[in-house]
Every structure is written in structure tokens, then in C-alpha cells.
Amino acid sequence: MREDLEASFDAFAAAAMPRLRRLAYAWCRDWHRGDDLVQDTLERLYAAWPRVRQDGEPFGYARTTMLRRLLSEERRPWRRREVGGFVAGPGDPAARGADPVVGLDLLEALAALPPRQRAVFLLRYVEDLDVAEVADVLRCSEGTVKSQAHHARAALRARLGDAYDTARAAGAGSGGTGGRR
């Protein structure tokens, strides 16, 4: 690869890596596996970098690649067993998704969603894509995206809703700190 392409890839990787790592971690709650996924995604991106760079949407390409691979892997039984058997070691970073206001582990609730709903939630509410874009990434209809988003939110509410409402009602201060803008 030419030097300017190498340099542009390095710059992109450095800029995109934190966002990709957060998405990967939110998906699997495992930094080691998450970083493996990011590395694999970047390898695929590097292989296609001249074309991807020309298309002008490299992060979208990387995000789509990673999420499709995650969804594909979730269908494999060996992956489910492996994830189910993962126990964080003493060297693993403690990155809990606890909301400092309500004191709930929101990421744990997110990770408990079914894969499709998790993917829709991440793309729709974390990555702030519109319904058509999410449908394009996941190769499904817009109606499916809407219904998956609804089910994801319903599942989160069923798991966290009462505690979340109670904590906020207790005067914990202003609620969400971002999300959809």
C-alpha cells in the first residue's frame, strides 16, 4: 500500500478505535474479545482500504463489518458456550456501565438483550442512525428495525424500569446524560 494510504489508515484507526472498542465492549462485555473483534475489523478494513477510503465512509464500513460479524458469530453455538464460560480475571479492567446517578449496571442490561435487539439498540440510540440506515446495516426492513427497537426498550424497561424510576424519583438529579441528540 502506498505511503499516503498507510498514513491515512493509521490516522483513521487511531481515531475510530475508541468508538469501535466501546461498541464491541457493549456487545460482549469482555475487553479481550472486544479488542480481538476490533482488530479483526481493522484487518478487514485495511484489506479494502483503498476502496473504502474512496467511498468516504470508512467508519460506517468498519461499524457495519463489525456488527455483521458479531451477529454472525452469535449464531454459532461454540461462541455462546465460550462467552457463557468467560470469567473476568484479576487483570481485566473493571469497566462497569454503572450509572453514577441511579447506581444501576446499564451495560449488563444491554448485554442481556438478544443479539438483534442489541444491534438495533446500539445503532439506533448509541450511534444515532436513523431507521433506514439501521435497516441497511442489518440488511432487514425498516419495520423490523422499529419492532426490534421497541422490544429492546421494552426489555430494558422490564429489567431496569422500576429501579430506574425509583432511583430518579428519589431525587437523584437530572437523568440521562446524552444518548440520542
Binding site: 475508541p18 478487514r44 484489506a47 479492567p93 426498550r153
Partner: protein, 275 residues
């Protein structure tokens, strides 16, 4: 106005608007503290290059294989057709050797033409009026054997000259090929005379005559000459006079063993490329 699946109104068709809990979860994802990355960019580049190479190969190899297969098929087809139909080589009025068919394949031409030239140079009286027939035999393991059959009815019908060209495969090289050209080892009718010589260039040549009884059982036995040569690069050339089963009594070959020896040493046949 659209209505979302959870019953909330959705003016934009973008599905339900996020509530406080949804925003809180999204914010938790966005605010996740990052430990030092385990991603190795040098490894990304190295494996990315390998992946790109593999992807290109995955595309290029089948395409090349398909092209080669198609090319090979197109190349071999005219040869195989030659086994069932005699080539329509025009016969010159002046009795010169038959020229190859102008519409035939270039490789077939070169071999057929080379054989006719070698026969004419070996025996200038050879008319070469009959169109030569070229055959290709492939059995899947050995390399192809190209056989050119030329009628030579000067001393009776049913008399032919058969010239074969072959590049010996490596596993047949060396001693095994040389044994084949050693006197007295090849099966067949009674050997009347046989001479094995090694030329200065390392060419092994065998010239021999075998006594053949006529197929019809009538008439006298005939001495049929042949010559074989193994050239240092592995090219094996054989030239034999041949009496067909339907040859009437009295037919006998016109070529001598010495003339056939000239044929198997002819430079055009030694150096022509076999497709």
C-alpha cells in the same frame, strides 16, 4: 402520521423516541472508560495485507484456471477431431508432399508438416500424395503421444509409415526409456536385425527389422523396418513401416531402416514443440 409498534405517535416515521432509560443506557455505552487497547496496528497491517492477497488470489486463481482449461480445451479439440476424420490436406498436382490443411490448428501443422518433410528428405522418391493423418493419444497419466500416419502405396496398398512423437515424462526418463530403445527388449515379431548406437550428442538410436507374417496368412513374410531415437531432452521419436491388415499379399514397405533412422533424427521433429 405513523404509529409506532409500541403505540407512541411517530411523526417522522423514525420509530419511538428514546425515553430517559434509553438515553441513560446509550450514555453509559458512550461513557464507558477505556482501558489501554490490545489492538496491534502492525499486526493489523500485516494480516490485512495477507487477507488482501488471499482475497485477490481467491478471485484470480479460479479465473486463471478457467481460462487455462478453456484454452487447453480449444487447443486439444482439433487434435482429437483428427483421430476420427482425415484432414483435408490438398494434394499438390506436381506430386510434392501434401501440405497441411490451411484451416487446421497451427500445432498440428507443425508436426504433420515436419513428418512429411522428414520423410521426403529421407526418401526423395516418397510422393507424399496421401494426406497424413494426425492422432493424439492421451491416457491421463503419460504425456500425449502424437502419431502421424502416412500412406505409402508405392509397393502395394495397405503400406504405411507411422511416426510418433512423445516427450518422455520424468518418471520414465533415464534407464526405463533407454531400455525401450535397446535391441531385443521390445516385444513383437521376430527381430531380423537390430542396431543400437549412441551418437556424440547423447542420442540413442535403434534401427531394426522384424519379420512379419501377412495377416491374411497368404504370401511371403515381409521384413518391416523401424527406427527409434531417444534424444537427450527426453524427446522420443519412433518411425515404423507398417502393413495394414487389409494389405494384399505382395505389399511391402518402401522405406528402409536407414531412411527411417534419418526421420527420427530429423531436426524439425526433434525441436518441434508438442502442445
Amino acid at each position: 402520521m405513523n404509529r409506532s409498534v409500541d403505540g407512541t405517535r411517530d411523526r417522522t416515521g423514525e420509530g419511538p423516541e428514546p425515553d430517559g432509560l434509553t438515553r441513560a443506557v446509550a450514555a453509559a455505552v458512550a461513557a464507558t472508560p477505556l482501558p489501554p487497547p490490545l489492538v496491534n496496528l502492525a499486526g493489523v497491517r500485516r494480516r490485512g495485507r495477507a487477507r488482501r492477497t488471499a482475497r485477490r488470489a481467491a478471485v484470480a486463481v479460479p479465473v486463471c484456471a478457467a481460462l487455462l482449461a478453456a484454452g487447453g480445451l480449444a487447443w486439444q479439440q482439433p487434435w482429437q477431431q483428427g483421430t476420427s476424420t482425415a484432414p483435408a490436406a490438398p494434394v499438390p498436382a506436381d506430386g510434392a508432399p501434401a501440405a497441411p490443411d490451411a484451416d487446421g490448428p497451427a500445432g498440428s501443422w507443425m508436426i504433420t508438416d515436419g513428418v512429411v518433410v522428414a520423410l521426403v528428405e529421407a526418401d526423395p522418391a516418397f510422393p507424399g500424395e496421401s494426406p497424413p493423418r494426425t492422432e493424439l493419444s492421451v491416457d491421463g497419466t503419460d504425456p500425449a503421444v502424437y502419431t502421424v500416419v502416412v500412406d505409402d502405396p508405392r509397393q502395394g496398398p495397405g503400406t504405411r509409415v507411422v511416426v510418433t512423437l512423445e516427450d518422455a515424462p520424468p518418471q520414465r526418463g533415464g534407464d526405463s526409456v533407454l531400455r525401450e530403445v535397446t535391441c531385443g527388449t521390445a516385444p513383437g515379431p521376430e527381430v531380423v536385425s537390430c542396431e543400437h548406437e549412441v551418437l556424440a550428442e547423447g542420442v540413442h538410436v535403434v534401427t531394426e527389422e522384424r519379420r512379419v507374417a501377412p495377416s491374411s496368412g497368404e504370401g511371403q513374410e515381409v521384413d518391416v523396418p523401424s527406427a527409434r531415437a531417444v534424444h537427450p531432452r527426453g524427446r522420443v521419436l519412433r518411425a515404423s513401416a507398417y502393413l495394414a491388415d487389409d494389405a494384399p499379399p505382395g505389399s511391402r514397405p518402401s522405406f528402409t531402416a536407414a531412411q527411417l533412422r534419418t526421420v527420427v533424427l530429423h531436426p524439425r521433429l526433434v525441436h518441434v514443440d508438442l502442445p
